[in-house]
Symmetry: C2
C-alpha cells in the first residue's frame, strides 16, 4: 500500500508555520476536548486541531470500513485495534482531504467551522486508555552511567543487560498528558549514614527523557510475537517523562524494582506519531555485541533518527536546554522489546504502552536524566537565569521535545511539558 500521506511534495490548505512539527506529512492521532466540552479523536495540521469524529459524521471517510463511532470516542483504542491497514487508509484519506488541491472541505466554510479548531482552544487528553505500561531500560549509555555510579566502571552493566531488554511494569493510573502538573512525592528514604529511614518529601525529583510506543492487539495469551512481525503491532510513538524520585528509588528498589519512586506520575506528549510518519527517518540501530539470542535477531534498519531535547524552565524565566539526545542511541530496538515482552506468552492489548527507558547519548550533555547530567549531584547544572540545579526544584517546568528532520520534511512530536509543584496538601 503506497504511503501517499508521506509525499513530501504535498501541501495543505491549512497554514503550517515554518518549523512546525505538524506538516500534512505527519498526521498524528490524539484525543481532545473542545470548548463545547465534546471529547473526540483528532489529528493536527500546523496549529489546527481537526475533529475526526465530525469528519466521519460528515461522510469524509466514506469508502473506508469503519464502525460508526470509531472517532466519536474518548480514546484511540478501538481505532488502534483495527490494525495497520485501517491506520493507513485513514491517514492517507486525511492527507487527501487537507491537500491544497482538494476543494471539498477547503471550500466548505460550514463544515470547516464544525471540524477545525485552533489548537489553543482545545484541551489535549490522554490519547489511549493504557491497560498496561512497561518501562524498558534499553539505553546502554544510561544503564552504564547508572551502573558506574551504583557499582563501578568494571561492573557497570549486570550480566543479563547485554542479553535482553530489561524492563519493569509501571503504573497506568498515574500516566498523564502534557500540561498536567505533578506534586513532589513524599516517601521513605534512608538519609546518608543513617540506619533508620525517614518519611518526607523527596529531595531528588528527576526526569527521565524517554519515548514510548503504543501497541495494537498483538497476540493471544501464550503466543510469542516473532521479531519479524513485531513492527506490525506498533501503532506509533510519544515522548515520555518518567518522573523519578531518586532518594525513594535508592531505598525501595531492592529486590523487586522501582515502585513509589516512579508511580507518582508519568507524563506523555498527547499526539501519537505513527510509525508510518516516522518511516523516512529509519536508521540502523546500535551494533549489538554480544549477538543476541536467535529470537531477538533481526536484519535491516530498526531505529529512528529522532532528535530529543530537555529543558528546565524555572517560574517566570525562559527555559534552559539541559540535554540534547537522539532516539538512535538506543541499544535495544522496539521490535526486540515487544518480542521479548511476548516471549513468555504475555498478552499485549491495544493501547498498551512501552517506554524506552532514559535515552542517553554518548556525551555528557546528551544524558537523559539529572542523575547522569549532574553525576549524582556532584556537578550541578547552571541554568540561564544563573541558578543551579542538582535535581528539579518546586515550580520548575520540565519540557521534553522531539522531532525528525531532513532536507524535505520535519515530523515532530510537539512536547511533553509538566510543572513540579510542592507536595500535595490534603484539604
Amino acid at each position: 500500500m503506497p504511503l501517499s500521506a508521506n509525499n513530501t511534495k504535498r501541501k495543505s490548505w491549512i497554514e503550517v508555520p515554518k518549523n512546525s512539527d505538524f506538516p500534512i506529512q505527519n498526521i498524528p492521532f490524539g484525543v481532545f476536548l473542545t470548548k463545547e466540552n465534546v471529547v473526540t479523536v483528532g489529528t493536527r495540521i500546523g496549529d489546527s486541531a481537526i475533529d475526526l469524529g465530525a469528519l466521519q459524521q460528515l461522510g469524509y471517510f466514506s469508502g473506508i470500513e469503519l464502525t460508526d463511532d470509531m472517532f466519536i470516542q474518548d480514546t484511540l483504542n478501538d481505532f488502534i485495534s483495527d490494525g495497520k491497514k485501517t491506520w493507513r487508509l485513514v491517514r492517507n484519506r486525511i492527507a487527501d482531504i487537507f491537500d491544497e488541491n482538494n476543494p471539498k472541505l477547503r471550500d466548505n466554510q460550514e463544515h470547516r467551522k464544525i471540524i477545525i479548531f485552533k489548537i489553543e482552544e482545545v484541551e489535549m487528553q490522554l490519547p489511549v486508555l493504557i491497560g498496561d505500561y512497561t518501562d524498558f531500560y534499553s539505553s546502554k549509555i544510561h544503564a552504564s552511567n547508572v551502573g558506574k555510579m551504583i557499582r563501578n566502571e568494571e561492573n557497570a552493566l549486570l550480566p543479563n543487560w547485554p542479553q535482553m531488554p530489561i524492563a519493569y511494569h509501571g503504573r497506568s493510573s498515574t500516566i498523564i498528558p502534557s500540561g498536567i502538573p505533578v506534586h513532589r512525592p513524599l516517601g521513605q528514604t534512608l538519609p546518608p549514614d543513617a540506619t533508620t529511614p525517614v518519611f518526607g518529601a523527596s529531595r531528588s525529583v528527576d526526569f527521565e527523557l524517554e519515548t514510548a510506543f503504543i501497541t495494537t492487539d498483538a497476540n493471544i495469551m501464550g503466543e510469542m510475537i516473532p521479531i519479524s512481525e513485531a513492527e506490525d503491532y506498533i501503532f506509533g510513538m510519544v515522548l515520555l517523562n518518567d518522573w523519578t524520585a531518586r532518594d525513594i528509588q535508592k531505598w525501595e528498589y531492592m529486590p523487586l524494582g522501582p515502585l513509589l519512586s516512579k508511580n507518582f506520575a508519568t507524563s506523555i506528549s498527547p499526539w501519537i506519531v505513527t510509525m508510518d510518519a516516522l518511516e523516512p527517518f529509519r536508521v540502523a540501530s546500535t551494533k549489538q555485541n554480544p549477538s543476541p539470542l536467535p529470537y531477538l535477531q533481526q536484519k535491516g534498519k530498526h531505529s529512528f533518527d529522532i532528535n530529543l531535547e530537555v529543558a528546565i524552565q524555572p517560574e517566570k524565566t525562559e527555559p534552559t536546554i539541559v540535554s540534547k539526545s537522539n532516539f538512535k542511541y538506543m541499544y535495544w530496538t522496539m521490535n526486540q522489546q515487544l518480542t521479548h515482552h511476548t516471549s513468555n506468552g504475555c498478552r499485549i492489548n491495544s493501547g498498551d504502552m512501552m517506554g524506552s527507558g532514559a535515552i542517553s547519548g554518548p556525551t555528557s550533555d546528551s544524558y537523559g536524566s539529572m542523575l547522569e547530567l549532574t553525576w549524582g549531584g556532584e556537578k550541578p547544572l547552571k541554568l540561564n537565569n544563573g541558578s543551579e540545579r542538582k535535581y528539579i526544584n518546586d515550580n520548575d517546568t520540565v519540557i521534553i521535545k522531539g522531532f525528525c528532520e531532513n532536507s524535505q520534511v520535519r515530523i515532530g512530536f510537539g512536547e511533553v511539558s509538566s510543572k513540579l509543584l510542592p507536595p500535595f496538601v490534603r484539604k
Copy 2:
C-alpha cells in the same frame, strides 16, 4: 449501619450444603456468563448463582439508590466505585431477599427461573476490570526463606523489608479467572555454570499461594490515604495464584524486579468476598519489630483468620494437599499496603488489585511456594500417587482454597484452580 447480612441465626430458602463456602452470611460478588450467553453481575448462595441484574430489573433493590444498569454489566467496577454504603445496603438486601422467612421471591417460581441458576451452568468471569495490579511481598517468613536461599541466614531480609511493605507492579492483561489453563512459559535462563543464557521452556514453574484485595476509588493524584481510613477503600478479597517461573526470575530480576517470570499468568478466584463478610474473623496482625514509621502505625486488629491450602492434582489422579497456611501469618497488613502505596500520591482506582505475596506459615508444611516447600528443589515433595515434584509438571492442576470458620459460620472463597499446559504452539 448494622450488618444484618452477618446474622449467623439467619438461614436461606436456597439449600446450602454442609461445609459450603457460601452460606447466606457470605454473599460474595462476581460476574458470570449464563447458558443464554448473558453476562451479569451476580452472587452465590450454596450452589446457586444469582443474577443481580435480573433481581434489579424485577425491582428487588427498590429503595436503594442505584444506577439503572448497575448490575447489568460485565464488571463490578461501577458497583465498587459506589462505595461502602452501597455495598452494605445491597448485601443486606440480598440477605433479606433470600432469608427463609421472606416469601417474596421464594414463592415466585417465575422470578426464580429468571434469577437463579445452578452454579455448574454458569461460567465465571473476571469480576473486575483490573486497571492496575500490584503484588506485595509481605510475608516475613516467605521473604526470609527466599533470602536464606539467595543470600544467607544473617542477611535473609534486606534492610528495607522491615521498614515498609515492599512490592512491584504486575501485569493486568494476563490476570485470568479460575479454570483457565496456563501454558508453560518460554524464556531466557542462565544454566548452572554457564556464562551465556539459553532460550526455551522454563524448567521450574511454581505457584505462589496468595490472597489479593480489590480497591474502590481511593484518592486523587497526589493524595495519600491515611492509615486510619485505608480500610474504607478495600471492597473485598480473592485467592490468587501468582504463577512464577523461577529460572526466568533468577536471570531477569536484577535490578528492576520480576517481569516475564511472573506476567505469563496470574490466576484468581472469581468471587470477591467482602470485608464485611470477613469481619467475624478479624484477628490481630503479627507484631511488628521494629515499630513502623508513624504513617504506617495503626491500632486494633487488622488481620484475618483465613485458612489457606494448596493442592497439586496430576492428570487423572486425586489432588494432594502440599501446603496449609493462613492469612494471619502476614507481616504487613492490607491497610499498611494501601497507605504505603498512596504515600507518594499514587492514584488508586476502583477495581485495582493488590496481591499479598506468597503467604508462608511458620512450619515447613505451610510454605507458600514450591521454591520453599522443596527448598529450591533439594527436597522434592511426594504426591499421593507416588510421583515426586520439585516444581509443577505439565498437566498438573494447582488448586488453592481458602475459608474462615468458627463455631457458627463458615465463610469461604471457593477456589482458584488452574492447569499447567505444555508450551504454546503457534498454529
